[in-house]
Symmetry: C2
Amino acid sequence: MSAEQHVGTLANCFTCQNRDSTEWCVLSPDELKRFNGSKITKEFLPGQVVFHEGDPVTGVYCIESGLIGFRKTDAEGNTTLIALANPGRTMGYRSYLAGEPHSTSAEAMKPSRICIISRSTVRDLLDHNPALGFQFLRTVSRDLGEAEEKFHQGVTLSVRARFVHLLLVLKERYSVVGEDGGLTIELPLSRQDLAAMIGTRPETLARTIRALENDGVAHFSGRILRVPKVSALFEDIDLDYL
Amino acid sequence: MSAEQHVGTLANCFTCQNRDSTEWCVLSPDELKRFNGSKITKEFLPGQVVFHEGDPVTGVYCIESGLIGFRKTDAEGNTTLIALANPGRTMGYRSYLAGEPHSTSAEAMKPSRICIISRSTVRDLLDHNPALGFQFLRTVSRDLGEAEEKFHQGVTLSVRARFVHLLLVLKERYSVVGEDGGLTIELPLSRQDLAAMIGTRPETLARTIRALENDGVAHFSGRILRVPKVSALFEDIDLDYL
DNA sequence: CGCCAGGTTGATTTCGCTCAAGCAATGTGG
DNA sequence: CCACATTGCTTGAGCGAAATCAACCTGGCG
């Protein structure tokens, strides 16, 4: 398996663009050296899997570039996209810290470079630098807040409202403001994956998109999305409550 | 507000039944003394609120006895019961650690005694005892795993399957094994709250209960639930997949 | 050129929500 | 002690949102 996956040119944490925005920003130069020396860097093509749901945890993973999606699969084979992770995010730490196997699969959505840090190195760093533990404590706590919010939305809101919520999240990271004040978003996901993220079927999503077009809220062509008025998105969510 | 809420007789952490099963089990005698001396104990009657969604975090709360439920309310006034917490659980730590206001309201479901530990004390203990941080790291990580699992189930499974899943969880804590191998569960929740936990309406839950009765999977009378064969619950979940 | 995966559209069915009424248990005031 | 509200639970009828099934595009790609 993973024939095309290979070790890339060695990444260097000292020059890594993302470092200051990660949990590892609290490492001392000495610790960073240890961290940098013991990691492995691999590259993944879209569709390739970094780790599988149920796998034992062998280390944690730091995204240098690309985009990773987390999937859960149920007995039927239905797959739900739980979350996306961008460069600078560390992954696998939840299962590591909980002492459980991986609860999701991690799959490259774009070509991605991933640094792998072994259990023992992480253990060592956590033991000697309490600040690192606090960093992860904050990250996990925030993730938990988001997860609870998503559960609440999932059972409470309509597909349309959930989709608009998703667009509002994606806008934060993938949108460009146009000259006229409108937004252009390059969606990083296929229709299938967009549907999976809000727990619906591709057919239903297509109809929802069509409805948004008809209402003039947004215009879709392929993965390019134009939103003339951002406020229209917020208003749209409220409409469900009338 | 909270007129009936009052400070009870002083609880003592040194003799607390729950201590060894909480995150605080790693405190040294000295630290425990500090912890014990700075806490306040209050009692809450069913329906009374310990803290509200959106409130700033003033400390963390340790449940000595009773049962607490966490609710989220949306713009419509729909309320979802996110989780239950039993004696020994600490609450409010998620928001404290994330540096956010409370993301849920906490409400007593039974008469409950709660110990309140101030921010500054928690801060102090965390700073001086790294092991305490690890304890919370594990707790939050496990909570996160459960929350993701619940989201996945919420958008994937039918009401019936979600309800059976809930029964399987409640069984762990509230069931008694009968002489014939069957189970008796005393549900700690009203129908309304059971419905809120799986994100549905009381009417739909009533119909689901009736269907389970008709299929001989379980028998409900008030809050008492009899399950002749536990395996029937597991089989029932699988039926949805045919 | 034909094949295939991803996406859209239409027709039909199913599940769960809404609205409305009835009922049992509990509480309250006269 | 009884008339009566009140609250929580159940049941029925109708409706609407979304899943399912099925056909049909489209744009790569061998």
